[in-house]
Symmetry: C2
């Protein structure tokens, strides 16, 4: 809301031209770096946008995550800053800023990063970070920033 001047205007009074701005909706870009600056927690995905029933989540990674899989869905990793590796049982993919990878559903994987790495994850609403594995690294889900 841009202000309540219209509500307090005198009935019948000619509207000032600048009041036209009140008829325009406000649309705000989602700035990834601004959002990243709002939290420090690692391995705890934060939701920044939804696309139908999918979510865009920012996550800060450092160290080793647990081996896990998501039986019902693929999972996209887009690296924004730094570098990470996604290990598979039979190989690995190294990702740096400006690179992405989609882990297929059901495939066991283990993300890791030597230094803190910032990632944009895309996956359906409701996906838990540790998938079928659970454990102490399981983060709260659906946390918006």
């Amino acid at each position: 809301m841009l202000g309540g001047a219209r509500e307090t205007g005198v009935a019948g009074q000619t509207e000032h031209p600048s009041c036209r701005i009140r008829e325009m909706a406000k649309y705000d870009a989602i700035n990834l770096q601004d959002k990243l600056a709002t939290f420090g927690e690692q391995w705890a995905p934060k939701v920044i946008a939804e696309l139908n029933d999918y979510q865009f989540k920012l996550v800060k990674l450092q160290g080793e995550f647990v081996w896990h899989s998501h039986e019902a869905t693929d999972e996209a990793f887009i690296v924004l800053d730094g570098a990470m590796t996604i290990e598979f049982r039979d190989g690995a993919v190294a990702l740096t800023a400006g690179e992405m990878y989609v882990v297929p559903r059901g495939v066991e994987h283990k993300p890791r990063a030597e230094h803190e790495c910032h990632v944009l994850v895309v996956e359906p609403r409701g996906v838990v970070n540790t998938g079928e594995a659970g454990g102490s690294q399981t983060a709260d889900n659906d946390v918006w920033i």
Copy 2:
């Protein structure tokens, strides 16, 4: 495939330790700038990855697109290089590199960019770029690079 040496090996011969590498699958990162360098066409989305039934598409924008909407789906724009504006009937959102926006389903919008802008679009497989509007700016769908 990393080579066919195994197929030509002598039966019963001790495998050389370096042959171990053949048992590892090969996983390649998708590098966004490398993919962008493979095409010059504007307003013609190119698919680089799929996530379940969603696609990640790179598109180069310059000038004005048509007013259109997608009745069945939201549409995510993530700006990689440059700047663009998404106009709505009652406002607009300005996006620069590192910013994103999700246009809700059914909402008329018109992307435009003064200078060439590179965007990662995320939306379900099968979405046509001009939505309900059609016209000369309609691009071939499902073109992979």
